[in-house]
Symmetry: C2
Subunit: 215 residues, 2 copies
DNA sequence: GTCAATCATCTTGTATACAAAAACTCTCCC
DNA sequence: GGGAGAGTTTTTGTATACAAGATGATTGAC
């Protein structure tokens, strides 16, 4: 329990940031965090370096480390990048996935549908993540897969927002099925196109929400 | 000069890693580095965290931080990812670039050609980087641009290897011109295809080299 | 001679100490 | 009352100290 405390702290902090527990621009007080985690400032500072390097916080010399939550513009950019990354993954996956992979994908899709039937949004989101991760894995490119997973987790909190739009879930499921059938047919281009739009629409829904809130 | 020494150290170390000054698996000795940089272990350890987080090194608890140079497989994966990322950038750029951007791109291409004429490979590589960066920028997606630049710099050392192949430089230039003309014509698909192959071939050349060395 | 166990040494991880810069406060002046 | 400035308090950045795990060496048993 007392090995590499700093790493655990970094993970915990990352989760807190992703979960939106900090406001944009909020300063991370080393002393407070040290007290909170019952450690000295040293492991806290190492954890903060991790946050800064992974882009979740900004460091201003002699001033401190500040949380950097992406604004609407950056979020749109991140969603667009995610959409393109996923499109790349699925295009590669179309020619590289094994039959077992395809089965696993179909099963994940089934579980998504069941979660909707049971009206269990949390489970839906978990299974939805799995569905996409199977596609990343299907690209047979570990590096690409890692990048995709990283961005996926970074956008996790914002992806839930599409929940607020009536009918989106049903449409999302239908897109999943389209992707699956395109993959089964070996139609890389169609799979890529559907998946790209499937992800990009989340960014657009988010945009709609933000601009409706601003009005 | 004595503000945030740790950051400077991190940058220096990153450059050394990218430049291939460390072997794969080499342990980064905190004491030696501390002595080398004339600081205590504290800023060194913060710098090491940065290396670990950005994936250039691996940390094994209670053992130390070890350089992780990508092997042939991972390098191929990185080149493939880079190729796809660039293809995405140029496809977006095809509809988003301004005329000024296109001019800048044409100029960068000119400078590449001149560097070849002058038989100045270093300058060629610098200008080549600029050429690609203008395309990243042209995607009008700062987040994507950042990702692309990051991967570009990570692959920097390995990209030079294509130099060893006779005629590659000339072909590379011709591909640049193709991309440029496709962009001018607004042909996103062709630009994307040419650029993808343009980058992917570097990975393949690297692969050829490695397997020829293994024989 | 080989292997294992114990002991010494080295290295990491964390805590604490201290210097310097930034932020804050209080006073003084207008 | 408002603002400038000196002094105080915080807070960051680095150095040092110390505890505990990992490594290596020496010794002893077989």
């Amino acid at each position: 329990m007392n090995i590499r405390r700093a790493n655990q702290i970094a993970k915990t902090l990352e989760q807190s940031v992703v979960a939106g527990e900090f406001r944009d621009g909020e300063r991370l007080d080393e002393l407070k965090l040290a007290e909170q985690f019952h450690v000295s400032r040293t492991p806290i500072r190492e954890a903060l370096q991790v946050l800064v390097t992974s882009g979740m916080a900004e460091q201003i010399p002699r001033r401190g480390v500040f949380i950097r939550q992406p604004g609407p513009v950056e979020l749109m950019e991140m969603f667009e990048t995610m959409a393109e990354l996923e499109a790349v993954c699925v295009r590669l996956a179309a020619t590289r996935m094994t039959d077992d992979d395809l089965d696993a994908l179909a099963q994940a899709n089934e579980r998504c549908q069941q979660a909707i039937n049971d009206d269990d949004p949390d489970r839906y989101y978990a299974e939805n993540e799995t569905f996409h991760q199977i596609i990343y894995r299907g690209s047979a490119n570990r590096f690409l897969e890692k990048q995709a997973r990283h961005l996926q987790s970074r956008l996790k909190a914002y992806r839930r927002i599409q929940l607020h739009f009536r009918g989106r879930l049903k449409q999302s499921m239908s897109e999943h099925s389209d992707i699956l059938s395109a993959l089964k047919a070996g139609d890389a281009d169609r799979a890529a196109e559907v998946l790209r739009d499937h992800v990009a629409i989340q960014g657009e829904k988010f945009h709609q929400l933000v601009s409706s809130l601003n009005r």
